[in-house]
Amino acid sequence: MTVRAFARLTSHFWWALSIAALGLIIAILLSIFAFVIVRGAPALRPALFTTVTSGVAGGLANAIAGTLLLVSIGLVIAGVVGVGTALWVVEYAPQWAARAVRYMIDVLAGVPSIVVGYFLYVALVEGLGWGFSLVAGALSLAIFVLPYVERSADIALTNVPRELREASVAMGARQGVTMLSIDLPYAMPGILTGLLVAIGIGLGETAPLIYTAGWSNYLPTLAPTHSPVGYLTYVVWTYISQPFAASHALAYAAATLLMVFVFATNLIARSFVEYRFSGRHSH
């Protein structure tokens, strides 16, 4: 066989393997989704959205509201701080400082969620006396997902072609204008990826919230402190341990809702970005 023919054969082989890999991932995801939805089906009714968790099962209104609040506030914090940090690292930071910040951010990714949660418990819940609270919970999520937001933004901003930025400078644009109209839009898909990964991870975390948001069987009061908040992952984690089938169904229903939220957010955000920012890249 010639070298060329062998290379072609190898090429076909690896592409087939890559498709098999994609197939494997899709199959596993479907398995997980089916696993969750089949077990949650008995509890999936409209009343889930209007009643609070009580007794053996009940509804998920309090948990849904709490999750939405915690994740949105946490994401805003993480998004602003993360993208801001990435901008500084890429645009302004001297080499040594950029290295230091990126290093610490990577280290943060390795901190277990429980450590973040317990740290905030000691510092905020007990230390500052805030008690289980919305702010502490949102902060714990924000800190935990910060690395994903920052690194994605970082990588995306670094890859903005120099020519585009130099062209902007040559036209006399101020730095802020360059950033807003050149850097950020070009990097938006990457930043978006970071935010979406962060949403996914933030929605799915339990340990940090147990020690900061606590849990509440009632709708959130929106008080920033001294008021515990419910969230869907608590239901999954805790109601699975109950001896009642209705509790298990509720737990899986909560899990189904979480996955649906992530899916919907992804689809909406991706379509939005496609619509607004398509055509910026040379394909």
Partner: protein
């Protein structure tokens, strides 16, 4: 003078109309990011200090974890700090479990992620791409508790019935597979992004020179985005090191015993902190809690070392500074 990827050339830099407000605002954010991690590190150091003194070097060499007799009044004092009688805190089981499961998970996950990302960029038709992307990001959105439950109810029995000689599937293999699944979406998402953004001209140039499509990808495109991929690998590794809930439910929660095969029960630092924090709170002397803090500190140090080593290894080929 070498210029980082994307960095403006010095001649151009002089003409930039800088805005100090922006510099300070973004600088403040960067300081916040850096600061929060630093604060946590300091907190852990202060919190774990009594345990560090009490446990000494045995912490690193002993596999025994014993919070002591909570219901007796006898105490033991070492280096000026007191704990309940019988207390002895050794981290060997947890450190070895953490390192083994994370490293093995990455060995499985990195090739898999690359293959999946390449399949999405090059083989999935454009009309199906949003769906494929959504699937991958959906995987990142599966709550870690659900990975744990699925692992416990689907994966572990599978391992126990088909593969394991003891009949029990909880152990290193289960933990490794679950961790690999959890980090794949992170790497796929980033790899896909950087490849998608960079690849067109390089790919076409390579093909024009006569390479096969696979050669074009592996020998031309991937090397050009190596730093972005490496960045996501480090991030994923961090996630693997710190993952708690999912591992907790499938690892077998080994205590006082080191693993001797891939079917042996293991325990990781993050999992043991979650499962033992509760009991540690019953320790009147507080030493159990602080030893858990010392464990968290150990994980911090492991992460610091791994990231430093990775940077030294990768820095040779990193022209962009994106890894830092």
């Amino acid at each position: 003078m070498a210029v980082r990827q994307g960095e403006l050339r010095p001649a151009v830099m002089q003409r930039v109309r800088t805005q100090p407000l922006l510099r300070y605002a973004t600088g403040a954010f960067a300081l916040t990011s850096f600061g929060i991690i630093f604060l946590m590190l300091l907190f852990l150091l202060a919190y774990a200090f009594p345990a560090i003194r009490f446990n000494g070097t045995a912490f690193f060499t002993s596999p025994i974890w014993n919070i002591g007799n909570q219901y007796g009044s006898a105490t033991v004092t070492r280096a000026g700090f007191t704990a309940q009688a019988g207390a002895s805190f050794g981290s060997l089981v947890f450190v070895s479990g953490t390192l083994l499961s994370s490293f093995l998970a990455m060995i499985a996950a990195v090739p898999l992620s690359l293959l999946v990302a390449l399949a999405i960029v090059y083989r999935v038709p454009a009309s199906l791409k949003p769906l494929a992307n959504a699937v991958v990001e959906l995987m990142a959105g599966v709550p870690s508790v659900i990975y744990g439950l699925w692992g416990m109810i689907v994966l572990v029995p599978f391992i126990g019935n088909r593969l394991s000689p003891t009949g029990s599937g909880d152990g290193l293999l289960a933990a490794t597979l679950i961790l690999a699944l959890m980090v794949v979406p992170i790497m796929v998402a980033t790899t896909r992004d950087v490849v998608q953004a960079q690849q067109a001209s390089i790919y076409e140039a390579s093909m024009a020179l006569g390479s096969t499509s696979w050669q074009a990808v592996t020998r031309a495109v991937l090397p050009s985005v190596r730093s972005g991929i490496a960045g996501s690998v480090l991030l994923a590794f961090g996630r693997a090191l710190g993952e708690t809930m999912a591992v907790l439910m499938v690892c077998g929660a080994a205590i006082n015993t080191l693993p001797h095969g891939i079917f042996s029960p293991i325990n990781t630092i993050a999992a043991v902190i979650v499962s033992q924090l509760e009991s540690a709170l019953t320790d009147a002397s507080g030493m159990a809690q602080r030893s858990l803090g010392e464990l968290a500190l150990a994980l911090f140090v492991i992460t610091l070392i791994v990231n430093a080593v990775a940077r030294i290894v990768l820095h040779g080929g990193d022209r962009s500074g994106a890894i830092g």
